[in-house]
Symmetry: C2
Subunit: 335 residues, 2 copies
C-alpha cells in the first residue's frame, strides 16, 4: 500500500474548429509554427473527450480511440506529445490515454484539432502542470497546429507569432454566426494534409505568395469581425478558401480535395446569395463543405443544401476544458 497520493486521472473535452482564414504551411515543423496567422470558429459539435491517467507501473503509453487500442503512427503521435508534457512536468511515467471522438476521422472535420486540444488539457492536468490558456494553446499547437485554436471559445485568432512563446490562439469579438456542415464524403481522404502541405511548399509556384496573402486576408478579417460586418466576413472566407484550394491544386502532382459534389455545394451557395440569402462556403483539406450564415438563415441554408450530403447546423462552441470524469460520455446523446 503506497502512502503517496495516487496521480489523478484528468478528463477534458474539446471541439473541432473550422478556419475562416486557413492554416496551410509550417515555417517550423518541430515547433509547429505556421507561415501565417489564421482565424476559426470553434464548433459546438463533434467533440473529442479524452482521459489521461498516469500510471507508475506502465512501461509505455497506451492509447485507445473510440474503444480501439492504437499502435503505429497514431500511438506514436500521442507518445511524442506526452514526451513533451513529461519534459515540462519533469516526469518519466507513462499514461493511459482514452479518447472518444464524435466526428468521422480523416474526412476534413479537423478531428486532430479537437483531439490534441483535449489531450493537451487532460495531459497537462494529469501530469500536474498548471498552465494558463495561452500556454495550453501553445502546447496543443505542438500536437497539431490547428489544435491551438480549439482552446478558445467561438471565434479565435492564432497568431503566427515570432516563435514558440507568441504563437497561440486567443478570442476575437465577432458577430454571431451559424455554420452548416455538409458532409459530402466521409471516406478517408487520399492525401493527408501533412503530405499535401509539404508537397505544396516544395512544388507550387504560388507558394511564396501564400503567406503574405493569408496575412492580408487575416488583417481584413479581423477588421470585418471588429466591425461586425458579416457580409465582409463571408466574402473573405469564401475567397480565401478557394485560394487555399487553388494553392493545393497547383502542386505537382496536383492535389484536388474538392469533389464534384463539393463544387456543386459552392454553386448552390452562390445561388443562395443570388436569391438573397447570405451564405458563404469554405472547405478544409477534404471534400466536405462548411457554410457560414447569420443564425436566422441557418435553417434555410441547411434545407437548400440537404440534397448534397448529410447536413448539420452548428454554432460557436467552447474552448477545450477539463470536465468531471463522470461526464466522460459522448457530448451528444444522438451522436
Amino acid at each position: 500500500m503506497s502512502t503517496q497520493a495516487a496521480p489523478r486521472p484528468a478528463t477534458a473535452r474539446a471541439y473541432p474548429n473550422i478556419a475562416l482564414v486557413k492554416y496551410w504551411g509550417k515555417r517550423d515543423e518541430a515547433l509547429m509554427l505556421p507561415v501565417a496567422g489564421s482565424l476559426s470558429l470553434t464548433l459546438d459539435a463533434f467533440a473529442t473527450t479524452t482521459t489521461v491517467e498516469v500510471r507508475a507501473e506502465l512501461t509505455a503509453d497506451e492509447f485507445s480511440l473510440n474503444g480501439v487500442a492504437q499502435s503505429g503512427d497514431s500511438l506514436g503521435r500521442v507518445t511524442k506529445f506526452l514526451d513533451l508534457v513529461r519534459s515540462m512536468a519533469g516526469s518519466t511515467q507513462f499514461a493511459v490515454v482514452t479518447s472518444i471522438n464524435e466526428a468521422p476521422t480523416g474526412a476534413g472535420l479537423a478531428s486532430s484539432a479537437s483531439g490534441f486540444a483535449a489531450l493537451a488539457v487532460s495531459a497537462a492536468a494529469a501530469y500536474g502542470l498548471d498552465l494558463d490558456r495561452p500556454e495550453l494553446s501553445r502546447l496543443a499547437r505542438r500536437g497539431s497546429g490547428s489544435a491551438a485554436r480549439s482552446l478558445v471559445d467561438g471565434i479565435s485568432v492564432w497568431h503566427a507569432g515570432d516563435g514558440d512563446g507568441t504563437s497561440f490562439a486567443e478570442p476575437v469579438e465577432a458577430p454571431e454566426m451559424s455554420m452548416i456542415i455538409v458532409t459530402v464524403d466521409a471516406r478517408q481522404k487520399a492525401v493527408s494534409s501533412r503530405t499535401a502541405m509539404r508537397r505544396t511548399a516544395l512544388t507550387s509556384p504560388f507558394y511564396p505568395a501564400w503567406a503574405p496573402s493569408t496575412e492580408q486576408s487575416l488583417a481584413a478579417m479581423l477588421e470585418a469581425c471588429h466591425d461586425r460586418d458579416f457580409s465582409r466576413i463571408g466574402r473573405i472566407t469564401e475567397t480565401h478558401a478557394l485560394r487555399m484550394h487553388a494553392l493545393i491544386q497547383s502542386a505537382d502532382p496536383p492535389i484536388r480535395y474538392l469533389s464534384p459534389v463539393s463544387i456543386a455545394v459552392f454553386d448552390a451557395v452562390a445561388a443562395l446569395r443570388e436569391a438573397g440569402v447570405e451564405a458563404y462556403a469554405t472547405a478544409d483539406a477534404g471534400p466536405n463543405v462548411a457554410v457560414i450564415s447569420r443564425p436566422e438563415d441557418a435553417q434555410a441554408v441547411a434545407e437548400a443544401l440537404a440534397e448534397y450530403g448529410s447536413v448539420r447546423v452548428v454554432g460557436a462552441g467552447a474552448g477545450a476544458m477539463l470536465i468531471d470524469p463522470d461526464d466522460a460520455t459522448p457530448a451528444e446523446a444522438t451522436a
Copy 2:
C-alpha cells in the same frame, strides 16, 4: 461598267486549337502580347470558314456569323481588325465578312481562335497583302491572342516574343496524339475570358508567379515534345491546366470555370490512368474538358467519358489556309 479589276473575294478555313501550355494574361493589350509563351494542338474539327469581299460601294463593314447579321461588340471586333488590315494594305474600302463557325460559340472551344485565324488569312488575301506564315500568325494574334496558334498545323508554340515582330506561332515536332473533347455544358459562360484575365491580373496574389511558371512549363513541354515523351507531355498538360484554373479561382471575387461535371471528368481521367490507360485532362476558360491520349487509346477514353457529356475524338488539324470559295460549305457534313 468599271474597267478596273474587281477586288476578288477570298475564303479561308481555320480550326480552333486547345492549349497544352495555356495563354492567360496579356502584357500589352493593344498589341496582344502575352505574358508568356504557350503551346497548343490545332484541331481537325470545329472549323470556321470565312469569306471577305472588299466592296467599293460600302460605307461600313458588314459581318454575318452563321447567317446572322452582327452588330455591337461582335461587329466592332471585326471592324477593328479590318482597320488594321486596311492600314497595312493602304486601303480605305470596307468589306463584307461572311463566317460559318461549326463550334458552339462561347463555350470554351476557342472559337475566337479559329475565327480570327480564318479572318486574318481571308482578309489579308482580299486586301491584297502578301504575308508569310509568321506574319499571318502575328496578324491573327491582334484579333485574338490564341488565334496566332491556329495558323500552324498540329502542335504549335506561340513565342511570347520581345515585341510585335517576334510574337508569333510556329510548328513543333511532337508525338502523334488524339484529343477527346468532352462538352459538358454548352451554355454561354458567365465571365468572359477577357474579363477574367483582367480580374486575375488585378486581384490574384498568385499572378506574379504565373508568367515565370508558364515559361517553365513551356520549356519542359518543348523538351518532352522533342523527346517524343507522351507521358511527360500529359503530366505537364494536366498540372499546368489545373494551375491556370487555380490562378483564375484565386481572383477576388473568385472565378470558377470548372463545373461539378468537369471535376468528375478530371476524376474519371485519373481513374483511367490508374487502370493503365494514359489520358490527361485540360480545360480552357469554360467547363468543357479536353483529354489527350495516344491515338490507339482514344476510342477507349472516349467510351469511358461518354457518360459526362457529348464526346468527340479529334486529331491534329491544318493551320488556317485559303480555300476555293466554292468549297465554302461546312467542313463537316455531319456538323
